[in-house]
């Protein structure tokens, strides 16, 4: 082992810095600094959404925050190879559920995507014009063909898009959503799910692994708050 005591001190110092400066605000090799997301908890809600699920005394497996994001005007590619203008897509006045995954991810992405898969029908009942978007954070490996193979495991409906693209464009999206990961190593990405009720910068960010019911509750909550249910 080649780690030296100074490395421990450095690691602790880095840890302290990491605690002081959350990832969204840290400079990144991929360009500039990351736009800080504004995290505001909903009134009366705990940071750990322990009390969010009625009748469930156990702590939830995720945290929920409100934030403001402005997705960049970049062109991504769907799993059939067709270009998709992300800004135009998100400009549509539709509820959106968005996640970042990669196809060779073995641990958290399968659960994130399975959560979307399981929630599709119920989400549609709440608001049928919903849009689910899974964006690959490993775009150079995740060709449309690989993304298609990944998508098929989750039986996506018509409203669920899987997108890849150029690395620089995907990183702009990650940056805009405050989802850049440490060390620029995708293995350190975080399990985020982003929800919004209609076009605009207001999003709700879930970090962790909500159950299908949690996801539905959250979704129902933002739709209800926006007054756009059933549209």
């Amino acid at each position: 082992m080649t780690v030296k005591p100074v490395a421990v001190v450095t690691a602790l110092a880095v840890g302290a810095l990491a605690a002081a400066f959350p990832p969204q605000a840290r400079p990144s090799r991929t360009g500039g600094t990351v736009r800080p997301a504004v995290h505001v908890l909903l009134p009366g809600q705990n940071h750990i959404a322990a009390a969010a699920g009625a009748g469930n005394a156990e702590a939830k497996n995720y945290t929920a925050t409100q934030a403001s994001y402005s997705p960049p005007d970049v062109t991504l590619i769907d799993r059939s190879g067709k270009p998709v203008q992300l800004a135009a897509l998100l400009h549509q006045p539709r509820p959106v559920l968005l996640e970042f995954v990669f196809t060779s991810c073995t641990t958290i992405c399968p659960i994130l995507s399975a959560t979307f898969s399981q929630g599709q029908k119920d989400v549609a009942q709440i608001s049928p014009d919903y849009l689910m978007i899974s964006i690959s954070i490993d775009p150079e490996y995740d060709t449309p063909a690989r993304l298609d193979a990944y998508a098929r495991r989750y039986h996506p409906g018509e409203n669920w898009l899987f997108l890849t693209g150029k690395k620089k464009d995907v990183f702009q999206v990650l940056k805009a959503f405050g989802a850049l990961y440490q060390s620029d190593n995708k293995m350190y990405h975080r399990p985020y799910t982003f929800l919004r009720a209609r076009s605009g910068p207001a999003w709700r960010r879930l970090e962790g692994h909500p159950s299908s019911n949690d996801l539905l509750d959250e979704y129902r909550g933002i739709i209800s708050a926006s007054g756009s249910a059933g549209k």
């Binding site: 350190y188 692994h209 159950s211």
Partner: protein, 582 residues
């Protein structure tokens, strides 16, 4: 720590004890047992199928739900996904997946800072991750009954709930027995190539490789091994120098023993030569190297022995196997170059009508020519492709002169000259005055010809001479290059072929990094998993724009530029395309 697992094994139930004794015997009588899956009892083999592929004994997928009710099935919930082939677990997305190897699963959990040291202090994980590591759930040894309960109900051997991400699976009893039987054997006996003080490692060279390049690679490898051994000796000779910390790792400060597998003659005889070397002294991993021709024979050997081959210097990697093999490559080499070229031509507003491709009949010519033909057919359907296969320098140069000076030359001439870059450039020079201006628009050559072209006298050709270039451009600055150069200078390593030697250095540092992290858990799959996990973490030194792997990925760089000579540009060439990822 060594031997600890086996001692624990012997305390368990009778069936387990029999297995353990068999393993102990096998471990004592030869290194080959660790990779001998074929002879495993049927139950263990079926358990392996369940662990690796998520298939029951009857070949069916099965369903599971996570602790918070997310349904998963089939390949989504193979144990191998999270716990990895070695069983040593992983860390991703702020989640720590604990090891479940036989010796660890069937023993009480013990606090072992060494095993989580790297994850605690070096991985860029969130605070919850570190908190989870610092508050391990203690538990007694699993028994088959408590392990079944863990897998079915998500409750560990002490009755505590497992993480919600751990799927709860309703397996039939026979499948559960198979899985338990397999887990008892998982990463029990060390893989070959390691003894109490030494880890044996090989690098592979052949007489077909350019002797100066081969020497540059070997010089770098030798210097790195000397450096590692000097450091290891320092650590081992002063085990109490840092009593809180370094002495904990004393079993990990192995001496690196280099074995140069110097292959001679045709590639068809390599396997026999490698087998003989391996019989003489099994190695734990192969690192870097340079052979003349395809890496395929070495890759096949590595796959057969489950032997990690860490970043060999090759433009002809093995790309044909169905699953991830044991060779980790920088890129797909010439195949990648050919596909990037097709992508470049396809994106050209004036797509070519006629493309002529001239290639040698060896792998250097055939592999990219076939890849280009496939990609061009798919991406430039309107183009007509003529393929000229030649043998030897004379025929190659004759065809180049004939095609370029023809009355009706193609729009694009694609050349894959293999080792004949210099004669082909000479032939192009010779033909240049006779080339009809405005007809032949583009002539392309692979990256291997670029250095030769830069040494060549200026070539004035009435067409764009372009090169595929699957590397980083010289205009991009990498701070780590300075460190690597200084390292080489201070060890009197002549930097003759910078990229080749920097690639070699990267391979060695990834191996060092991997061995540092696995400590004395000498399992080859674990080494591969660590490298897959951390290849993206900036140990690259400017040879490629980005080197990144992931679980099961084998090619770290995925794209290429198209460049052209430009005397005014840094290093004499510049990119005429963006980074093309086919």
């Amino acid at each position: 720590m060594r031997g600890y697992g086996l001692r624990r094994l012997l305390k368990c139930d009778t069936q387990f004890r029999v297995s353990a004794i068999m393993i102990l015997f096998a471990f004592a009588f030869g290194p080959q047992v660790a990779v001998a899956q074929e002879g495993a009892p049927a139950g263990i083999e079926r358990g392996r199928q369940l662990y690796r592929q998520g298939l029951t004994a009857s070949g069916d997928a099965f369903g599971c739900t996570t602790g918070n009710g997310i349904a998963l099935s089939g390949a989504q919930i193979s144990c191998v996904n999270c716990h990895r082939p070695s069983g040593f677990g992983s860390s991703e997305g702020g989640k720590y997946v604990p090891p479940i190897t036989g010796p660890l699963l069937f023993a009480p959990r013990e606090l072992n800072r060494n095993r989580i040291f790297y994850k605690m202090f070096k991985e860029a994980q969130p605070a919850q991750f570190a908190a989870r590591l610092r508050e391990p759930k203690m538990r007694p040894a699993y028994t088959p009954a408590t392990l079944s309960r863990a897998i079915r109900e998500g409750m560990d051997s002490s009755g505590q709930k497992l993480e919600s991400e751990m799927p709860r699976c309703d397996l039939q009893s026979s499948d559960m027995e198979n899985l338990v039987a397999y887990l008892k054997t998982l990463s029990v006996a060390y893989d070959p190539g390691v003894d109490s003080e030494t880890v044996h490692l090989a690098t592979v060279v052949s007489d077909g490789a350019d002797p100066r390049r081969r020497e540059a690679v070997l010089q770098t490898v030798h210097a790195f091994f000397d450096w590692m051994n000097t450091r290891a000796e320092g650590h081992r000779s002063r085990p109490n120098f840092s009593p809180n910390y370094h002495s904990d790792f004393k079993n990990s400060f192995q001496r690196w023993q280099l074995h140069v597998w110097d292959l001679h003659g045709p590639a068809s005889t390599w396997n026999e030569q490698i087998e003989a070397e391996y019989r003489r002294q099994p190695v734990f991993a192969v690192v870097s190297g340079l052979v003349g021709g395809p890496w395929d024979p070495v890759a096949r050997f590595c796959d057969a022995k489950h032997l990690p081959c860490v970043f060999p210097n090759t433009e002809l990697p093995r790309t044909s196997q169905s699953g991830p093999g044991y060779s980790l490559y920088f890129s797909r080499g010439l195949e990648l170059e050919a596909e990037a070229l097709a992508g470049f031509l396809a994106a050209n507003p004036n797509q070519p009508g006629l493309i002529v491709q001239i290639h040698t009949r060896d792998a250097d010519g055939l592999v990219p020519a076939e890849a280009f033909a496939r990609a061009a057919k798919a991406q430039i359907p309107g183009a007509q492709l003529r393929d000229l296969s030649v043998s030897g320098e004379q025929e190659l140069c004759r065809e180049v002169r004939r095609v370029t000076t023809s009355e009706h030359p193609p729009d694009v001439l694609v050349l894959w000259p293999g080792k004949y870059s210099a004669p082909v450039l000479a032939a192009l020079s010779e033909a240049a005055p006779s080339v009809k201006s405005g007809k032949l628009k583009i002539v392309t050559l692979p990256a291997g010809a670029l250095e030769v072209a830069q040494l060549h006298k200026p070539l004035v050709l009435p067409a764009d001479l372009l090169f595929t270039y699957p590397y980083e451009l010289p205009t991009v600055y990498y701070p780590r290059v300075f460190l690597v150069r200084q390292w080489m200078h201070s060890r009197k390593v002549d930097i003759v072929y910078p990229r080749l030697q920097f690639q070699t250095y990267y391979a060695l540092t990834m191996l060092q990094f991997g061995l540092d992290q696995i400590l004395d858990d000498f399992f080859r799959d674990y080494l591969v998993e660590v490298i897959e996990h951390e290849a993206e973490s900036h140990l690259d030194n400017g040879t490629h724009p980005s080197l990144a792997l992931g679980p099961g990925q084998r090619f770290a760089s995925k794209g290429a530029y198209i460049v052209k000579l430009d005397a005014a540009a840094q290093d004499g060439f510049r990119a005429v395309s963006g980074w093309i990822v086919p």
